[in-house]
């Protein structure tokens, strides 16, 4: 029997790879929406204008308050419309409980939860097969007594790809 040195390293590497895949899929499923452009700049303008006005009012001697600095067009624009409802129920805060219903647990509408689940399945279903390649590599390493550092030969790599993607490998009778 070949040496089992480094065996725990191989197992932990495979485990960490699986955890990374799972977390990556989860992060892709609940990716936050991008922030509205120029919102931060508009907020900074408003804060700077308010601070300048307060400083002018506090000055003794009755100097005329400074004119408000020129504002960014985005700061003078009417308030943006609220965002449309998001599909992910995980981003919603707890809803107020209706009167007389007891403790206010977060309530997630069934429709939203179903849409979120469908989105998560849609994002993940086409990426799970990549785990097949990792599984083949892991088994190859076990068979050869190797660590993950040494590369797989091209023939073995193509064989693993064939076993993971070729429908005949799944539908055939063996």
């Amino acid at each position: 029997m070949s040496s089992e040195r480094g065996q725990a390293t191989v197992e932990w590497t495979g485990l960490m790879l699986m955890v990374a895949l799972a977390l990556g899929g989860l992060a892709a499923a609940v990716r936050p929406a991008p922030a509205a452009p120029e919102l931060g700049e508009a907020l900074a303008e408003r804060i700077a204008g308010a601070a300048a006005g307060a400083a002018a009012r506090e000055e003794p001697g009755g100097a005329a308050p400074l004119a408000s600095p020129p504002r960014h067009p985005a700061a003078m624009a009417p308030p943006a419309r609220p965002h449309p409802p998001r599909a992910s129920p995980l981003r919603r805060g707890p809803r107020p409980a209706p009167p007389g219903s007891g403790i206010g647990f977060p309530r997630v509408p069934v429709g939203d939860a179903f849409r979120w689940l469908r989105g998560a399945v849609g994002h993940g279903i086409n990426r799970v097969w990549i785990g097949c390649l990792a599984h083949r590599r892991f088994r190859y390493g076990l068979r050869q007594g190797q660590t993950w550092i040494r590369p797989m030969p091209p023939g073995e790599s193509f064989g693993a790809l064939n076993e993971c993607l070729n429908p005949v490998e799944f539908l055939g009778d063996d």
């Binding site: 993940g124 086409n126 799944f170």
Partner: protein
């Protein structure tokens, strides 16, 4: 012509990848027998095509 080919190729890839995903789960992770592996692959391919049809390409 090109968008049509692109759409067909995308649907074929989604079906293949989704079938391979469920086939991998059934064959390697769950160790199910061959008929169940074939059923899992077919169900995954159908699910992938359904998701494409619903306008949510994975």
């Amino acid at each position: 012509m090109a968008p049509r080919i692109h759409r067909i190729a995308g649907a074929a890839w989604c079906a293949l990848a989704a079938g391979a995903s469920l086939g991998f789960l059934a064959r390697d992770l769950l160790g199910l027998p061959q008929p169940w592996v074939a059923f899992g692959w077919s169900a995954g391919a159908a699910l992938g095509l359904w998701l494409v049809r619903r306008g949510r390409p994975p």
